[in-house]
């Protein structure tokens, strides 16, 4: 799972300080600010490493997140909508990222298009509460999942490149 590039990318994501979930009022706003700071930094890092691969935004309460992630395969860009809710027990438990349009296409998904993370992810997250945030979830959860599943789905002909999506 954690190849050298992933490990380097993760080590450059700022760690979060505030151990607070969506049920806490003011402290959650502080946690959200840190989440956004870390996400902005991670996206900036990705851009400068020429590996920009996702965008995320949330509702104003920061409880529901949605965005896009994409994967380049044979110079073609495959783009997907993603979404997730922040569980009431966050950050003790990581959110379950879903790519609804891939639901039913791969066994590496739970119902509703929730991606199935590796056995390594949960202990890793648990050991890093509250320092890991959504940027870490992207880097250690969704990123490696896309890297394994998307080429496989393309090879099996289960996803096609959409014409309107610009080539990279």
């Amino acid at each position: 799972m954690a190849d050298e590039a992933t490990r380097k990318a993760v080590s450059e994501i700022p760690l979060l300080k505030t151990n607070s979930g969506p049920r806490d009022k003011e402290l959650w706003v502080q946690r959200l600010r840190e989440e956004y700071l870390a996400l902005i930094k991670y996206v900036e890092n990705n851009k400068s490493a020429d590996n920009d691969w996702f965008r995320l935004e949330s509702n104003k309460e920061g409880t529901r997140w949605f965005g896009k992630c994409w994967y380049i395969h044979d110079l073609l860009k495959y783009e997907f909508d993603m979404e997730f809710d922040i569980p009431v027990t966050y950050p003790a438990t990581a959110p379950e990222v879903a790519i609804p349009e891939l639901d039913g296409k791969t066994a590496k998904m739970y119902r509703g298009g929730k991606i199935c993370l590796t056995d390594h992810f949960k202990p890793l997250w648990a050991r890093n509460v509250p320092k890991f945030g959504l940027a870490h979830l992207m880097a250690l959860g969704l990123g490696p999942w896309l890297a394994v599943e998307i080429p496989d789905l393309i090879a099996k002909g289960l996803i096609q490149h959409k014409e309107q999506q610009t080539n990279s």
């Binding site: 995320l56 569980p87 009431v88 949960k122």
Partner: protein, 417 residues
């Protein structure tokens, strides 16, 4: 920019339409089911029995309770009728939860409150309870329909939502604390029959806050082990007191192929776990036999390890710590009595030489740094992972840098990227 906004508006409408289609589909399935039931019954209601006011021990072919009431005659259970006074919440109506609900319904439980956000799918048909013609219905709705026809004496309350989201969690807490047989009283027991960590933690959070006794159940993702656990907030270990306890399956990790699949499931293992769970529930509610604190099931070796674990004074859940203080206070006030020695497990701090694999490529030192103390557990039970002692400090340069920007500004900045 404007195109994206418009797109979102259009998406919301599509979502609404999808929801409406879903509702109409549910209606249609229900109509079909109703017609089917009527045809089967020859247009009459002869397959549905009338409600029974009082449980009778009379052995006649029309009495569904005679064999249960025999437990009383045989002296196993002192007062079986008390079952009708209890309200039980079942969270998760999948492979374990649906069978659990069916067993409790057949036993004549007073009230069942069912929570699940999922719908019945044909892919669920390797499990018990649900039937192919129910595909498409919400699990709670389909379950209520079947269970009510099995035993109309039970009252049902169903909630078709995800308990882990902000939208629903407070409602979930409210139903736990007010869902008793007499409204405004709490339920007697909460049963966790969910299949994921997030939902277990949400139930744990709610029960710690409310001081609600609950039982946890689980089947491993490889389908060959499972467990049940009784959690009395403040007294026995809560779900956050230690990393998840799992039954060692004695399968060589190297031979376990995980490529290409998330989880396996067997109706047998789920049926066994549901049986163990409801047995513990009956013993707890009706006061017979000994109630297990933790009971594991290893299907590969047919081994059933048991143990008991005290709440952890350093638990991350502060309501758990609060409940522990409350429990200590009550214990101190209680008149002294003979204590039966029971093997208790506590987290011990020792060198961790067994270490579990964290990330395939890490070095020995990193692995050691990432592992923590392992509780001294009985044979056959282990923890899913360990957590190292809390680090003293993380270098400031690795933490997020404070800025003057407000949350709104940061959200806008992220949107512009």
């Amino acid at each position: 920019m404007s195109i994206r906004v418009e797109n979102r508006v259009a998406m919301a409408t599509v979502e609404e339409l999808k929801l409406r289609v879903r509702e109409l589909e549910n209606e249609l399935i229900k109509c079909k089911q109703k017609r089917c039931a009527e045809e089967n019954a020859g247009g009459s209601q002869k397959h549905y029995r009338q409600r029974i006011e009082k449980m009778s021990a009379e052995v006649v072919d029309s009495n569904p309770y005679s064999r249960l009431m025999a437990l009383k005659r045989m002296g196993i259970v002192e007062d079986y009728e008390r079952i009708r006074t209890f309200s039980v919440a079942v969270v998760g109506v999948g492979g374990v939860g649906s069978v659990t609900a069916e067993m409790l319904t057949r036993c004549g439980i007073g009230k069942l409150i069912l929570f699940d956000y999922d719908k019945v799918e044909l892919a669920n048909m390797n499990r018990l309870f649900f039937q192919p013609h129910q595909a498409g219905l919400s699990k709670v709705e389909a379950a209520e329909h079947t269970l009510r026809s099995i035993n109309p004496d039970v009252s049902f309350e169903t909630h078709n939502y995800n308990i882990t989201t902000m939208e629903n969690f407070s409602h979930f807490m409210d139903r736990i604390s007010h869902g008793g047989l007499e409204e405004a009283k709490p339920v007697d027991l909460v049963l966790s029959c969910v299949d994921n960590f997030e939902a277990r933690m949400a139930i744990n959070t709610a029960c710690n806050e409310l001081g609600q006794i609950w039982m946890e159940s689980g089947v491993s993702e490889n389908a060959v082990s499972g467990h049940i656990q009784l959690i009395i907030p403040g007294e026995t270990a809560c779900f956050a007191c230690a990393p998840p306890l799992v039954v060692a399956a004695n399968i060589d990790e190297k031979t376990l192929k995980r490529e290409g699949v998330c989880a396996a499931s067997l109706p047998t293992t789920m049926g066994v776990v549901a049986g163990l769970l409801v047995q513990n529930v009956l013993k707890y509610l009706l006061g017979f036999g000994s109630v297990s604190h933790y009971l594991g099931y290893n299907a590969m070796q047919d081994f059933f390890p048991t143990m008991s674990m005290k709440a952890n004074p350093q638990c991350d859940d502060h309501y758990c710590r609060k409940q522990q203080e409350e429990y200590k206070r009550k214990e101190a006030e209680r008149p002294k009595q003979e204590v039966v020695e029971e093997e208790e497990v506590q987290v011990v701090h020792e060198d961790n030489e067994w270490g579990i694999e964290l990330v395939s490529e890490v070095t020995e030192e990193e692995l050691k740094a990432a592992s923590g103390p392992k509780p001294d557990l009985p044979e056959g039970i282990t923890v899913a992972y360990t957590i190292p002692e809390k680090e003293v400090n993380t270098p400031a340069e690795e933490m997020v840098e404070e800025t003057e920007q407000s949350l709104e500004e940061l959200m806008a900045q992220m949107k512009r990227m």
